[in-house]
């Protein structure tokens, strides 16, 4: 894009300004730098004077640019350096105020807690995430890795011992990575543990057979799910697109929770599907054609003598 390329000095200047503006949103920074790039090219074109003599240092230039553009002063470039600083602060605080004794106590408390969290993680993995069976029923804080009798407390004790052992070894300089991995896993387990303790499950039924059989969801007849209805008139003529409603006006919907692309839905002017029209017809797969629009069960509609409603004279 350039025939008058930036001089190496100009490139270096631009790069340093870019670094100084590293915390700005990319769009904002690029637009600022775009202007400056052409500026540097022109200044270089004038020759003679060194860039620094003309513009000052890149840092001063960037500072002036920020001030005059009304941009905030520079913030920390990345979260990692913030972490390092926080860590350094903690270290200094540890050196300043706390004896070795209290540090050891803190380490022990963490290792105990970590043991419990690791047991939680183990129980959740064994029992399935979010499964309430991963927790004790009588002691809601007890991780329950599906072991009988004293299995759960023993497993917890084993994880606590493991956590302490890992911590001591790491303190002596061995297996530091393993210790950190255990800590990381424990930190992750804080979330499900906190969630569980915050909302422990309600009373459990221990019997596996339900006391009352749950009603079949959706439309059912004698406990069996009804997937279609074929209405006929009194003369035995099959009816199409009959919409059924309950006494309270509720539509008698069938399979409204799934979208079946082969089902022929009636669609309203607003684009809503109607789930209570019968009989439900199905397209030939992949098409919008119903090959047998009158297909239905072989029924024998009996001859009726009762006169039709409309024909009765009051």
């Amino acid at each position: 894009m350039t025939t008058i390329a930036l001089t190496p000095e100009g490139e270096a200047f631009l790069a340093r300004v870019r670094d100084e503006l590293a915390d700005l949103p990319p769009d904002e920074r690029d637009e600022l730098l775009e202007d400056i790039e052409s500026h540097l090219a022109e200044v270089a074109g004038e020759g003679d004077v060194a860039l620094a003599a003309r513009l000052g240092s890149a840092e001063e230039f960037a500072q002036e640019l920020r001030n005059s553009a009304g941009l905030p002063p520079r913030v920390a470039p990345s979260s990692s350096s913030r972490l390092i600083r926080a860590r350094a602060w903690l270290d200094r605080a540890a050196l300043r105020g706390q004896s070795l004794r209290t540090q050891l106590d803190a380490a022990l408390v963490w290792r105990l807690a970590r043991g419990w969290l690791l047991a939680v993680a183990f129980a959740l993995v064994i029992g399935g995430l979010g499964d309430t069976s991963a927790w004790g029923h009588t002691h809601i804080w007890l991780p329950h890795p599906g072991l009988r009798g004293y299995g759960a407390p023993l497993a917890l004790a084993a994880f606590v011992v493991l956590s302490i052992w890992l911590g001591r070894r790491a303190a002596a300089g061995h297996g530091v990575r393993l210790d950190r991995a255990a800590s990381a896993l424990a930190v992750i387990a804080v979330v499900p543990a906190a969630w569980h303790l915050d909302s422990p499950p309600q009373a459990h039924f221990y019997s596996s057979t339900p006391m009352i059989s749950a009603p079949t969801p959706g439309l059912a007849f004698n406990g069996v799910e009804v997937s279609n209805i074929f209405p006929f008139d009194r003369n035995g003529k099959p009816l199409n697109d009959v919409m059924l409603y309950l006494a309270d006006g509720q539509p008698l919907n069938v399979a409204a929770h799934v979208v079946d692309h082969n089902r022929r839905y009636l669609v309203t002017r607003r684009g809503d599907r109607v789930y209570n029209s019968f009989p439900v017809r199905y397209f030939d797969p992949g098409t919008t054609r119903v090959t047998h629009p009158t297909a239905g069960p072989a029924v024998h509609v009996p001859k009726v003598l009762t006169p039709p409603l409309g024909s009765q004279t009051p």
């Binding site: 894009m1 350039t2 025939t3 008058i4 637009e31 600022l32 775009e34 202007d35 400056i36 790039e37 052409s38 500026h39 090219a41 022109e42 200044v43 074109g45 003309r54 513009l55 000052g56 001063e60 230039f61 960037a62 500072q63 002036e64 640019l65 920020r66 001030n67 005059s68 553009a69 009304g70 941009l71």
Partner: protein, 111 residues
Amino acid sequence: MDTSQMLKGVIDVAVLAVVADEDGYGYDVVRRLRARGLADVADASVYGTLRRLYAAGALTSYVVPSEEGPHRRYYGVSDRGRELLAEWSARWRTFVQAIDGLLAPHTEVLG
């Protein structure tokens, strides 16, 4: 008082006035300000001011491709910018008159 200190207070109105004369790109605006007697104006503050005025809606901007160098972003004054310029120049006149009034007797003594 240092001229660059004084410039900080009036850089907005100076830049706006220069661009109102004729659209210009950053370096062009710097040069024109210098040619009009503002020798101390810093390059970076002109760029920053252009961006800020643009962000505030006082300037419009468009890019003109250049065959011999990087593309140039030109700035022009928007309607909002013209309003601001009129407002500021009225205020500036009042301000200058007040300072002139204060300085007049002393200028005579010194002169």
